[in-house]
Symmetry: C2
Subunit: 178 residues, 2 copies
């Protein structure tokens, strides 16, 4: 993470705009959407996008980092079950994260960012187990696995609210008593 000299004001503004545009475009069309499309939505020429993010992968990585940070923050506002529910409901909006966590075509390494999310969920798990809401033998890996799975399922399957609820009910029951 080498920081050069600080960015010029216009550059900073554009960088932010590009990330916002990328979030919207990739959420709507998936990570296969073109860089052109992102540039257009950001109201910026394509060269500018590549000045800030030398490759499309770099753009995706930067976006991913931002989105994961948001998730970590949200984790702090919920208990484990509520976090699950919230994520599933948001799955479509956060298509990018789900896609990327799924490793669909693009490879991106963000060990620390993902680590922070695991850490946050780990805390929720501890709390839930302290309350007895989740059975003792449950460990973090399977909770993360279930979280990722159910997000992908919800995203790709186009679940309605009722199906979301019924599916989560099964998982919560499974977590409660192993």
């Amino acid at each position: 993470m080498v920081e050069g000299p600080p960015l010029r004001a216009d550059a900073q503004r554009n960088r932010a705009r590009i990330l916002d545009a990328a979030e919207a475009v990739f959420a709507e069309f998936g990570t296969r959407a073109s860089t052109e499309q992102v540039a257009r939505r950001a109201g910026v020429a394509i060269g500018t996008v590549f000045r800030h993010f030398p490759t499309k992968n770099d753009l995706l990585a930067a976006l991913m980092k931002r989105l994961l940070a948001q998730l970590v923050e949200e984790a702090g506002k919920h208990d484990l079950f509520a976090f699950f529910t919230h994520l599933v409901a948001q799955a479509a909006a956060k298509k990018t994260v789900v896609d990327l966590l799924a490793g669909s075509g693009v490879d991106i390494r963000l060990p620390d960012a993902v680590g922070h999310l695991e850490e946050a969920v780990g805390k929720l798990l501890e709390q839930a187990q302290a309350t007895g809401a989740v059975a003792a033998p449950i460990r973090l890996p399977e909770v993360m696995a279930l979280l990722a799975s159910v997000c992908q399922g919800a995203l790709h399957g186009g679940w309605d609210e009722q199906l979301q609820a019924r599916t989560l009910t099964v998982i919560f029951a499974g977590l409660k008593q192993d």
Copy 2:
């Protein structure tokens, strides 16, 4: 499903080879692998592939149909929990089905083929509920949803055997008592 006159012997052979090659290639590289690659593996010129399957989508649809039929057949050999376990273990090998059921980029409509799978799983569910292995209020949609989710999770997350087992344990517990 209009059938023209029967295919010539060599054409039939090639059609089968192409489908086999497609299964292998798409399983290894995902559905983004090129038609060229499939042709090479089949030992056939690219024009031949396009003679049999006018578009890449047609090829994927035909392959999907075959794979789903296999799944339906396998469903008959297992009880519900065993089928889950089997599918998860095979997730990587059947990447294509998972990808396509996930609708990743390609749109394919195979309502009847998917319908048959649902039917087969429906039977397993009934049996499991008759035995008391699965709680009564569970319905087919959430079972299908869980099945799809966990396959995607396993595929994209690269779960090891232990994680597969632990994750499935949670789901099975959830199905047993709602």
